[in-house]
């Protein structure tokens, strides 16, 4: 397989005009985050596909739950309501939402949920888009959150992009703000999983660096990457590198009068299998709102009740050096 000429944008988005330096900047950002080759156990390695040629043998999609596992387990093992409440609580920083998946809950005056917005978009993407042209970011905010967004809302006094602006915190959502939800962290997590010395025979005994993390994503990536590495494989992210919403399951979601709900999901950014922004809202004609829906008999009161039925993913390739 030939070297990858350039890293594509997540879900191959084209938010900037063709020819914009943004695309090269994005590719450089990914390349900077990947070592050319990072040797691991048993001859395996993590590699940068723009610098190292590998005969790809397999593609593996790593999936994990969108709801923050460490909010539920082990502390709230017997109290799911407390976990839902905690996961929704921190609107300003979304600190509990640490699975590379964040959401915003919109309620009506009666306090009922009317819309849920789930994102898997990284701050690095918006930062680089801002660097290329702030008006591109403004335009996205206006489309995704509110036409009322102004450039002043999105920047600090010195013109720096403010990720914690009101439209990405208290009044809406565009991309991750949680401290460790960054693509840089994801790249580091995967590459940091290459060694787990001494050479363990299987996942029951292996202890990759993230083995003890209580989140879902860290051990998922850690165990899977090390499993491939210890077979002597060369592993990297599949292009377009990104974190994606890959699946959701609304079976058992019922209308107020009992039958199953309709399809109330909208893929706003990305594409099936590589969804970056997903919205859940009942069409006006239905006569009820999200907060009137029951899941397996339980009324939807928190965004986390829906988030636990959404699957997040990233894909990797594995092979032998060419």
């Amino acid at each position: 397989m030939a070297l990858l000429p350039q890293f594509d944008t997540p879900a191959s988005l084209r938010d900037a005009p063709a020819g914009s330096p943004f695309y090269a900047a994005w590719s450089n950002f990914i390349a900077t985050g990947l070592a050319a080759v990072r040797p691991g156990d048993n001859g395996g390695a993590f590699y940068d596909p723009t610098e190292t040629d590998v005969n790809v043998a397999a593609i593996k999609t790593l999936t994990w739950i969108g709801f923050p596992r460490d909010v539920l387990l082990p502390g709230n093992r017997d109290n799911k309501l407390a976990a839902y409440l905690a996961a929704d609580a921190d609107v300003a920083f979304r600190d509990p939402q640490n699975e590379y998946f964040e959401w915003y809950v919109k309620r009506n005056n009666a306090g009922k949920i009317i819309k849920l917005t789930f994102v898997a978009e990284t701050p690095e993407y918006y930062q680089r888009l801002w660097n290329a042209d702030p008006s591109l970011v403004l335009s996205l905010y206006q489309t995704l959150v509110s036409p009322a967004v102004t450039l002043a809302d999105l920047q600090t006094g010195t013109g720096v992009y403010n990720q914690l602006n009101r439209w990405n915190t208290t009044d809406g959502i565009v991309h991750y703000i949680q401290n460790i939800n960054t693509l840089t962290a994801a790249l580091g997590l995967a590459q940091g999983s290459v060694t787990a010395l001494p050479p363990f025979p299987d996942n029951f005994e292996a202890r990759p660096g993230s083995a003890t993390a209580r989140t879902a994503v860290d051990p998922r990536v850690g165990f899977d990457v090390h499993m491939l590495i210890r077979k002597g494989l060369h592993v990297t992210f599949r292009d377009p590198v990104g974190l994606y919403i890959v699946d959701w399951n609304d079976s058992g979601f019922t209308k107020p009068n009992g039958p199953p709900v309709g399809n109330y999901w909208t893929i706003v950014r990305g594409s099936p299998g590589m969804v970056l922004r997903l919205e859940y809202e009942v069409p006006a004609g239905e006569g009820f709102v999200v907060g009137d829906i029951r899941i397996g008999g339980h009324l939807i009161e928190y965004g986390g009740q829906v988030a636990e039925h959404i699957t997040v993913s990233t894909s990797g390739t594995a092979g032998s050096p060419a």
Binding site: G43, V56, A57, A58, G297
Partner: protein, 586 residues
């Protein structure tokens, strides 16, 4: 350094074709179905019997101390929870309480007949030693057991609303009928799997009490059933539904109606029967030199802390496969060491399953038996396809020290066992790593519900230990598989599985396995729905798919028909005998 050259997969990561199988059989297929030549004939003769005598003498070195179930505890816990009745003939009575006071009288009457953990373990030991001596399954020993479970409503009627409310399991509180659509069950009122049409457990025919009666011999079981029904009737308990279950006959004993050996992989409950060294509930066979002794009882049997099945005992840590976690406390005190019981009457459409297997096999160019085995993950004998990918191996299927010995992501290391009298050792081919799911696909039933060493969407493999359940199912209805020329009347008869499971959380164990894994194309790993028990209830849809690995790439096969359909059941609680005596019957 160990490096392997991996042959690149063709079209890796792509779905190269989507197959839409016809819902109706072609004329040629219909001809094949007529004489049932499409159902594999099983050859399970000349099987040696494994020896399962308890090994007493030494605790597992380095293993954390486990709870001791003294004689009083063993005499209090219902025996179908631990170790399980495992009887060839079982009868299920689903009762509705009309007069709580009369129901209490009934409970006091049957109380001495409720079989305990101690009785069932004692009989099992006797049976196994006799089986070893005579060399046959049929020892002519006979025991007859009875166990019981109560719905939330029953607890409210027999104890109090406060007692019923104190059960922390939210699914138990709601009941199976309300949770049905969450499990992906059919929701259309015209579908025979809709709760409205269930034989028991629907919105209008929920049972308060389930009685499980079991025996080695039909005539003895019949006598007990008659007696219990008589007493129940006298106590104004309305019989909503009853179901006889029988193991299949002959070489298919222990198999379910599609012909596959069932119940092979059960978790090993941690705990001891006394303080004596090595006196474990689940015998330990892994040698002291093997690190797997710490988390396996025998090859492939994962050890799980008893609190996953008995309320109030130390639970399985969700973070660490070896250690325990704090006991649950979200239940009334008297419910200590009881267990949630899930009952599902699952109807099986055997012709539909094999029609799909025949059509699917033809489309991907595989023998039908191999295709069907890939749907399950095992051959009909129980032999795992990871150990014998090419063809069934009945000797492996019947070897309890070998038929569960495999993992998915890495090569299985040969097992090292303590000396076992009469066991020659596991000389079958070892399972090779199948991390790309080319041999045992991600959708395969046994890989879906028991991902073993694989990381899942919940993260570390240790999390999966806390999802396991104790399965206590038995087939119902007349046997079809293996019958060469069945008459249409036999084909049309109702058959399936009385699925029973015990666990400390319905939501985090049984429901988790059904909804999050079996009913998902992407969890715990991407590759399709469980084609055996998986259901798709999204927006009322029933369409499932499997991503079938072929030499040319992955073929997505759509599944429009269904061959496992829920037709009844309920969520119950199985208390200790003292709890029944002192609370529910008092």
């Amino acid at each position: 350094m160990r490096t392997k050259k991996f042959t690149p997969l063709k079209n890796a990561g792509q779905i190269i074709e989507e197959i839409d199988l016809p819902e109706r059989a072609t004329a040629a297929e219909a001809g094949a179905f007529a004489n049932f030549s499409f159902i594999p004939q099983l050859a399970l003769k000349n099987i040696h019997l494994p020896v399962l005598t308890p090994l007493v003498g030494m605790d597992v070195p380095g293993s954390p101390p486990e709870p001791v179930f003294d004689s009083a505890a063993q005499d209090d816990i219902q025996g179908n929870i631990i170790p399980g009745f495992n009887k060839d003939h079982q009868h299920f009575l689903f009762l509705r309480i009309r007069k709580p006071k009369d129901a209490k009288v009934f409970l006091r009457e049957i109380l001495p007949r409720i079989s305990t953990m101690e009785e069932v373990i004692a009989f099992r030991r006797l049976y196994r030693s006799k089986r070893f001596l005579v060399g046959r399954h049929n020892t002519y020993l006979c025991s007859t057991w009875l166990n019981i479970g109560f719905s939330r409503r029953a607890i409210e009627l027999l104890a109090s609303k406060a007692d019923a409310d104190a059960f922390g399991d939210r699914s138990f509180q709601l009941g199976l009928a309300q949770r049905s659509s969450y499990l992906g069950d059919p929701t259309s009122p015209s579908h025979h799997g809709s709760p409205r049409r269930w034989k028991v457990g629907g919105p209008k025919n929920e049972a308060d009490i389930v009685l499980i009666l079991a025996s080695d011999h039909v005539s003895v079981l019949d006598d007990l059933v008659d007696l219990v029904k008589l007493r129940a009737s006298a106590a104004a308990l309305r019989l909503i539904f009853e179901q006889r279950g029988n193991t299949l006959s002959g070489d298919l004993r222990g198999h379910e109606h599609f012909g596959f050996k069932d119940g092979i992989s059960q978790p090993g409950v941690r705990g001891k029967l006394s303080a004596a060294p090595g006196d474990y509930i689940t015998p330990r066979y892994i040698s002291a030199a093997d690190s797997r002794r710490l988390y396996l009882a025998k090859p492939g049997q994962q050890l799980v802390w008893s609190g996953q099945f008995l309320l109030g005992d130390p639970r399985q840590s969700t973070e660490d496969q070896l250690n325990s976690a704090a006991a649950a406390s979200n239940f009334p005190k008297w419910a200590h060491r009881g267990s949630y019981l899930v009952v599902r009457r699952l109807q099986q459409d055997v012709p539909a399953f094999y029609r799909f297997a025949a059509q699917g096999a033809a489309r991907v160019g595989l023998p039908q038996a191999k295709f069907a085995a890939m749907l399950v993950g095992r051959w009909p004998s129980g032999a795992p396809i990871l150990r014998v990918p090419a063809a069934d191996n009945p000797a492996l299927g019947d070897d309890d020290f070998a038929n569960n010995h495999f993992i998915f992501d890495d090569d299985a290391r040969p097992s090292s066992l303590n000396p076992i009298p009469g066991y020659p050792g596991d000389a079958f081919p070892q399972a090779a790593a199948d991390f790309l799911a080319q041999v045992c696909p991600h959708f395969a039933h046994i890989r879906k519900v028991h991902p073993r060493d694989t990381a899942t969407e919940m993260g570390k493999p240790a999390d999966s230990f806390a999802r396991l359940i104790l399965r206590r199912g038995i087939p119902y209805g007349p046997q079809l598989v293996g019958v060469k020329y069945p008459k249409p009347k036999l084909v049309a008869q109702d058959r399936g599985l009385m699925f029973l499971s015990y666990g400390a959380s319905i939501e985090d164990q049984f429901e988790f396995l059904q909804r999050r894994w079996s009913n998902s194309g992407s969890q715990p790993n991407r590759g399709g729905f469980d084609p055996i028990i998986g259901q798709n209830g999204r927006q009322g849809s029933r369409l499932r798919f499997i991503d079938f690995p072929t030499p040319s790439g992955v073929v997505r096969i759509k599944i429009k028909s269904e061959w496992v359909t829920p037709t009844g059941g309920g969520y119950f609680f199985a208390p200790t005998i003292s709890a029944i005596r002192d609370v529910l019957a008092s």
